[in-house]
Amino acid sequence: MNLALAAIPGLPMLSATLLILFGRQIPRSLGAVLGAGSVGLSAVLVAGQLLAYLDTPTVVTATLWTWMSVADFSAAIAFHIDGLTVVMMSVITGVGFLIHVYSVEFMWEDESFSRYFAYMNLFVGSMLLLVMADNLLLLFLGWEGVGMCSYLLVGFWYKNPANGAAARKAFVVTRVGDALMALGLFVLFTDLGTLDIQPLLLAANLNWEVGGTVPVLATALLLGGAVGKSAQLPLHTWLPDAMAGPTPVSALIHAATMVTAGVYLVARLHGLFLLAPATLTAVAWVGLATLLLAASAALVQQDIKRILAYSTISQIGYMFLALGVGAFSFGIFHLMTHAFFKALLFLGAGAVSHCLHHELNIFRMGGLRTRLPVVFLSFLIGSAALAALPFTAGFYSKDGILLSAFTAPGIGPWLWAGGLLGALLTSIYSFRLLFVAFFGEAQTEPDRKPGLPMAIPLLILCALSLLGGLISQPLDGVLPDAGHPQVPHLIEWISIGVPLLGVAYAYYAYIVRRPSSSPAEAGGDSPVEGFLFAGWRVDALYNLLLVTPYRTLARWCQGEPIDHFYNGVVSLNRLCHRGLAALQTGELRWYATTFVIGLIAVVAIVLRSAP
């Protein structure tokens, strides 16, 4: 049992090690088999776990070895598999496997084929560790591990310094969140004496008062970590830039799995968050603010991947909103459906750029509907699910979130209204993308069509995006069941209707009144558009407040200011030395004179001492 569980993250990691060590010696096909196959095997093992769990929902735990044990602290390399974990593992390995298969074709011509698969496998392994971890320290290992893989993959094409900058930004910004999370772990351990998740939740329930200072502090720090990893306000700025990596990477890491780790963390530790209502409310507001900001920014982007990136930020905002109002299962549900349709959209975008000479600007595409039908189908379904059109997967999850938000006490209607506005914006930007890129006249001719390794994952994800809403997650007993929220029918109808309104507007704006010329490169002709295009200029603000001062400070300190002090001591010494050396003039008469002075002094001393 232990071995089977350990093999789930272990296989991809083993494969990653092999690929790093021997990647240059083995042929590409073998690398592909190793890379995709190991994840596939993992997926099979996960499927076994899933079936077992569906059959009899029992928690499985396994301890491999004691990681470290000092004084009262101990942490083990141990797994804890319950419904939530199984769902996450299924998403990670399932979607992950599809993306790996897709990548085989996508990356076939790249010179660093095996390096790519090594990183991807490492990522899958780390992500699995993250969700399977039985204690927060192991979770943190996975947490940082996926961050590292994200760094490696965003900067995969390292020759372009811009990619390196994006990768570093992604790592450093999330690292800010990680530092906060680490502090959260310290608070938890100091107060509760353990980092094992289950005993921790138990101890918290016993020892913490609802709304006490420590719970709020601890959860707020954990939220900091979640916000960093899940690209929420105020640490969201890294995600749009992270699109510098290969597109399947964006699909896997920056859409389906890693960025939802924050959601997983909050859901996993919901017991703590429920004890800190203030933090939970903050989660909801963070989610709402993020989803509106990102959706409005997505409205004016031109780079297909940036649109999707902002869309991802926005969708995770929905998940946070769900978590914030206590609808944890809807949050996880949206996580899953989002993984399907966003992976689909990203892979579709990858297919477009793959076939279109790496073109990413949607205004230089056009008319792809007939030229790349499979991709068009993917985008159609993906956009529909993203916009939460009825009966797609996204519809069920997002509808649940909106209605749950409405029922939240006090602030509910406000959250609902904000979420609704977000839904409107979502449908507008997603169909804007679809209409601009796939309808109208062709601007660029594709030079090939996606082959089977790319098409099959797309089609599977299409099916999942359509039907994924029907999956019922085995989350009973793991997360508090919100049930289907009871709201007035009018609210339900409005929630369903608004996205359709958005589609209609997009149709009017981009098909009927198709803009004659593409907008300026810098995005936006008006100041408002420019503001939105720059993501509300948060980046500029951070540059001004943090990056530039840090660089300036570093430049000032470059020559080691502390050394000035020691150099001062040295100079003083040298001065004294010069003073003494000046006495040695080399003039005989001066020596004679000093000799006499000394003689006088000696005689005087003799006189004084012996009168």
């Binding site: 040695q584 003039t585 080399g586 003039e587 005989l588 008469r589 004679a592 004179t593 006499v596």
Partner: protein
């Protein structure tokens, strides 16, 4: 013949004055030749002090010491005058303030 009965301090005073003169000359003069003469005067004054002490206790040691001082003076003058010639040849001056190579 017998010597005189003179207070020892008076002889020593004379020796002291001579020594001071020599010292003053050493400090005052810039010419190496005169500096050497000053040294001679100082050595001589020391010799005088020895003789006085020998006379005080009626011992031969004072005169022995005078002899040694004499040897030292002779040796010093021989080398010193050799240096005078050499310096004059090399620097074209006997001004010791100009010859400050000792510093290095």
């Amino acid at each position: 013949m017998d010597g005189l009965l003179i207070p020892l301090e008076h002889v020593l005073l004379v020796a002291g004055i001579l020594f001071a003169c020599g010292l003053g000359g050493l400090m005052l003069r810039r010419n190496l030749l005169f500096m050497l003469m000053s040294l001679e005067v100082m050595l001589n004054s020391a010799a005088l002090a020895f003789i006085a002490a020998g006379a005080r206790w009626q011992e031969a040691d004072g005169q022995v010491m005078f002899l040694l001082v004499l040897t030292v003076a002779a040796a010093e003058v021989a080398v010193g005058l050799g240096l005078v010639l050499q310096i004059q040849r090399r620097y074209r001056t006997l001004d010791m303030d100009a010859v400050t190579r000792l510093q290095e």
